[in-house]
Symmetry: C2
Subunit: 315 residues, 2 copies
């Protein structure tokens, strides 16, 4: 369930005009921007952006970028972007970092549906004139490349069917390879990166039932091993994306300086989807609501904006 | 340019009724089936199939399968199928062979556009409840798997842009690896399977201009080496798909017993696209027109059908 509350009776033209007014003159009326944009759903935001371009011959995102700064600027710009375009930009940004951010790439590839991720690939090509796979491949090498390119390449089947005997067979293969610490074996990559998520759920469940331990338990938790980080993230994002994202939020709220982008990325990308369920998991883990954590750890317009996405109506 | 001549003034309902009449009773009026189906374009055939299903509650393909036999049955059924569904079926069939038919998989993956091949993947999932990538991966292993899964996975960029300096860089990488006979190096797979076709044309051209030889020249032509066959086919299908397909037709027409499926596959899948250009290349290579070769080597309804697709109007 979404946490985000949309207005439902907005006019894109009126919104565009109000945004222009909020940006006029020397200062910027950030509260007005939040009261409009943070309360429009994905279609409404798209229409506001189109209306803004039509009326003022300016891209709304560029306008917001020039008016605002810091985390608030980044957050409200990302929120206003089309989801596929935004995910493409997150991946491009992850690929441009000095130390590639494998986790972001895996998170986007594995927590979106096949159709959503296909839209990300289309946006990526439109924006960067390259295919996403080629940029991932040319920025990586060795085992990490093999796994990461496979993660972003497959157009996974999304049907509900799964094969129980295949789940047994592949749970055994995975168990044996993990026992032998052959973490970079081709078979692990094949199973994780080509099987449907439903099939993999069955495989992971069989693994736990047969061997009395979860598949991630046997993996090394060495955070300096890029391959292992990518592998663990892939399994977690497929196995339980909400729990994974709740954990990302925990880390982010514990160390906002290092992980600020993580906080806004998860809130922005899930606010219209399943942020309610992610918040519940966060609460169970931390004994404090996500809203309260965000309210404690952030401030100013950024705080107001994030809390609005978390369901505080008309803050 | 297409060789195929469509009627342009057909009625799907009348066509469906005529087909039903041609199938009534003990014998089948194959000439009537050819005179209708071989002269309908892809959209018209789709509408005839829909009309047939609506009127007779039977799938036209199943009806044709039960009425006809041999190469003619296979040909006219494949022709009547939706192109993406047909390609998905070709790949599924190639994967079910005792010795996997890598060349067919590569041909379809590399000679279709990204959008066409995406449609093939969608059809494959609809028909077989698996993703294409997972079936390719689970039926192969080692180097062949690595190359073949990469060939079918990437959603290639199709823009016209290419990077001249990248072409130089990657032509050098390819040349060095080929010189060292490191044919299965990850870099070869990465370059061939993720770069756009325009970028690869530039790389292949640079390769020839810099080293005075084509990229395929340095590759072993051992036809028992599955990896090398897959690699050579991949390069040829990207470099010059029409020349590759003209060669497939040559081989097929020289040994129709072994290669019959190849003949009808190429004619059926290209008749509405570029079979004219492929025919020209065939003529240049063999000094005999493709029509004449087909007329000499085939017979009966199958011959009439193929010649109709090759542009013999109302044969």
């Amino acid at each position: 369930m979404a946490t985000h509350i949309a207005a439902n009776d907005s006019s894109p033209i009126v919104d565009a005009e109000k945004i222009k007014n909020a940006c006029k003159g020397l200062g910027t009326d950030e509260a007005a921007l939040i009261s409009i944009l943070a309360h429009r759903n994905v279609t409404e935001r798209k229409l506001v952006r189109v209306a803004y371009e039509q009326i003022y011959h300016e891209d709304l995102i560029q306008q917001l970028k020039s008016e605002l700064s810091g985390s608030f600027q980044r957050g409200i710009c990302n929120w206003t972007m089309d989801p596929a375009e935004r995910d493409a930009a997150f991946i491009n940004e992850a690929l441009k970092k000095e130390t590639l951010d494998f986790k972001v790439i895996v998170e986007i590839a594995c927590t979106r549906t096949s159709e959503e991720f296909l839209a990300v690939k289309r946006s990526y090509q439109f924006l960067y004139k390259h295919c996403l796979e080629e940029d991932v491949a040319s920025k990586t090498n060795g085992d990490v490349r093999r796994l990461l390119v496979a993660v972003v390449s497959t157009y996974r089947y999304e049907g509900d069917e799964f094969d129980e005997s295949l789940a047994h067979l592949e749970a055994n293969i995975l168990h044996q390879l993990i026992e032998n610490k052959a973490f970079n074996d081709d078979e692990i990559v094949r199973i994780l990166c080509t099987r449907s998520k439903k099939q993999l759920f069955a495989t992971f469940t069989t693994f736990r039932n047969t061997y009395g331990t979860t598949i991630t338990k046997g993996l090394s938790s060495d955070s300096s091993d890029e391959y292992m980080v990518t592998l663990r993230t892939t399994i977690r994002c497929i196995k339980n994306p909400r729990r994974y994202l709740a954990k990302v939020l925990c880390y982010a709220l514990n160390d906002l300086v290092a992980e600020e982008h993580e906080l806004s990325r998860v809130i922005i990308t899930r606010a219209e989807k399943d942020l309610n369920e992610i918040s519940d998991l966060y609460f169970k883990r931390n004994g404090i609501t996500l809203q309260n954590s965000v309210a404690k750890k952030t401030s100013g317009n950024y705080k107001t904006f994030l809390l609005a996405l978390l369901g505080n109506n008309w803050v």
